[in-house]
Amino acid sequence: MNLMMSIARSPAVLALVAVLALAGCSSKRTLPNSPGELGLGGSGAVPGSQQDLTLNVGDRIFFDTDSAAIRPDSATTLDRQAQWLKKYPDKSVTIEGHADERGTREYNLALGARRAAATRSYLISKGISSNRIKTISYGKERPVAVCDDISCWSQNRRAVTVVSGVGS
């Protein structure tokens, strides 16, 4: 146990784990659904694609512990997302709300939903039609960073905007 904890707390291992986690996440997120998204590559994102949103706008915002308040840095990201959504009016999105692992399961499901709802409300307040934005919460079930300190927890307290195709 002590050995494992000391390994897990070593910065080098943490960095590796985080990179792997993010790589696993991004490959999962950009591959599915639309054939138009398959043109992977850093600069050549297809306009209006998930990759375009992720690379050029920012697909996620982060939250403070046990909070669903939109932080100033997050508001900047969401402002860009709102502009992007106005540029691609045929796109709809799903906001995925998440919590870190330092909470109990049921509450974190609701907390993730509260974060997704706050994100959705912000985008609506910036002029995006409510019927273009769905939400879902994964609670603490889908961490992207797996370590046992704040460097990971702060990455996991997030709302991720996922392009889901043509708006309803």
Binding site: M1, M4, M5, I7, A8, V17, A21, G24, C25, D66, A68, E101, R102, G103, T104, R105, E106, Y107, L109, A110, L111, A113, R114, A117, A118, I136, S137, Y138, E141, R142, P143, V144, A145, V146, D148
Partner: protein, 464 residues
């Protein structure tokens, strides 16, 4: 000393036991090894050689850290290895309860070759075996298994129990648990909990790509069976108190909803037709309702759905997260958690939603309350100082006691006799959660072995 001179003059069949009053009555469980079992076990009384009017062996299990009672569980006599296997399961059940200390067989002086005869009590007293279990396992002409046992008080020289059971051979573990329950009940005065099952979430894969499956097993980890394939994220399974059914939450089809799953048929259905995420389900004590949370925007409120009429009722209405509802065993009250006051705290309300009162006031936050089947306590998860603890308090919020504290302990569930709490523990580091049990007194913490990682345990009730 005759085995079959029944003092109770009757044998009870497993599928017609609903009117029988004692805790010994076996309950037919249809999911064992995937077979639908009828007439699972028949119990007959066995002759007592003397009435245990002044039994010396007695355990007061309300005293906290009791010294386990030294006892001897001898190999049950049989022509094959089934006798020792059954007595081994009995000894393991009793040992894991923390209340009994089965003595190593190497210390035994008398070899029991005929359990019909009174043992040489002195041989057992000298190794300090205060209770002695003997038995025999044999096959009936019709292929059924016959298991007989006697429990002796070695210091009083009296038989405390003598019973025999008839069942199909594949139910041998179940018979062992029923016998262990009978011994536990005789020596403690409390109902047993060994003939029970646990439904939980089995987890595999790395922490950021966890695959979760519903699984069911006997309380000792045997007879594990998976109930879902692992394609969908599944959480928080709970047993029905009255049917072979669990309620749980699933992300099937990308819509997080509360489901019902029939254990015999595998049939599943969504509970209700709600406009948003439903989660944190639990049955009412009569099994007729599911109580759960419905997410609406940033708020979660508590609803019930009547499983017969499909009528839904809203019980809370706050701009907050109200979740983890759990009924009192009489069905009159509900404990739940809410962050309406800022942090998660425990509240109790009447079953109709009236009279909502906060009951937790300690440092930190409180969540996942579960009402004890005895009604006297509420178990919870407490977060304080960066630690996660499992604790209990009375329904009025008094008498808080922490049973275990660490990096992450969560999700208590009660044994049906209200003496033992199971929960899951996530250690720091790359590994996953494991199931543990702990006595209500805070002693006798035990790992509950599962083949994979395990979380969200729910103990089955004693079926009526």
């Amino acid at each position: 000393m005759l085995w079959l001179t029944s003092t109770r003059h009757s044998c009870f069949e497993g599928n017609s036991l609903s009117t029988m009053p004692t805790a010994l009555l076996p309950t037919p469980i249809a999911v064992l090894s995937g077979f639908l079992l009828r007439s699972l076990v028949i119990i007959c009384g066995l002759a007592a050689t003397a009435l245990p009017a002044s039994a010396l062996v007695e355990i007061d299990i309300n005293q906290g850290n009791v010294e386990p009672l030294p006892m001897a569980v001898t190999d049950f006599v049989s022509e094959d290895d089934l006798g020792p296997k059954i007595s081994g399961v009995i000894a393991d059940d009793l040992r894991r309860s923390g209340l009994f200390a089965p003595i190593q067989k190497a210390a035994f002086i008398q070899k029991i070759s005929n359990p019909d005869l009174a043992p040489r009590f002195e041989d057992w007293r000298v190794i300090n075996a205060q209770a002695l279990v003997v038995g025999r396992v044999s096959k009936e002409a019709d292929g059924r298994l016959r298991a007989e046992f006697r429990l002796w008080d070695t210091f009083a020289g009296e038989q405390l129990i003598g019973q025999q059971f008839f069942t199909q051979p594949e139910n041998w573990r179940r018979v062992a648990h029923i016998i262990a329950d009978a011994i536990y009940e005789e020596l403690t005065g409390e109902r047993g909990y060994f003939d029970t099952r646990v439904v939980f979430v089995s987890e595999t894969g790395p922490r950021n790509e966890r695959q979760k499956q519903l699984a069911i097993m006997d309380q000792d980890g045997a007879n594990l069976r998976f109930l879902t394939q692992g394609n969908d994220l599944v959480l928080t399974p709970r047993f029905s108190p009255s049917r072979q059914e669990v309620t749980y939450m699933s992300f099937a089809d990308g819509e997080p909803r509360v489901y019902l799953l029939q254990l015999e048929t595998g049939q599943r259905e969504i509970v209700g037709n709600f406009p948003g995420m439903t989660f944190s389900p639990r049955f009412s004590p009569d099994g007729q309702k599911v109580i759960m949370s419905l997410q609406q925007g940033g708020n979660a409120n508590i609803y019930t759905m009547d499983l017969r009429t499909r009528a839904t009722t809203r019980l809370t209405d706050t701009a907050a997260i109200d979740t983890s509802p759990s009924y009192s065993p009489d069905g009159n009250r509900i404990v739940f958690e809410s962050d309406r006051g800022g942090r998660q705290q425990l509240y109790v309300m009447n079953a109709d939603g009236s009279n909502q009162q906060r009951i937790s006031f300690g440092d930190g936050s409180y969540s996942t309350p579960v009402w004890s089947p005895r009604g006297d306590l509420i178990a919870f998860t407490k977060q304080s100082g960066g630690k996660f603890s499992i604790g209990v308090m009375r329904p009025d919020g008094s008498g808080e006691r922490i049973l275990t504290t660490g990096f992450h302990n969560e999700g208590p569930t009660w044994s049906p006799n209200g003496r033992v709490i199971m929960f899951f523990r996530q250690p720091a580091g790359a590994s996953g959660p494991q199931l543990y049990s702990i006595d209500l007194t805070g002693y006798n913490e035990q790992r509950v072995e599962t083949p994979n990682y395990g979380s969200d345990p729910a103990w089955s009730p004693l079926l009526k």
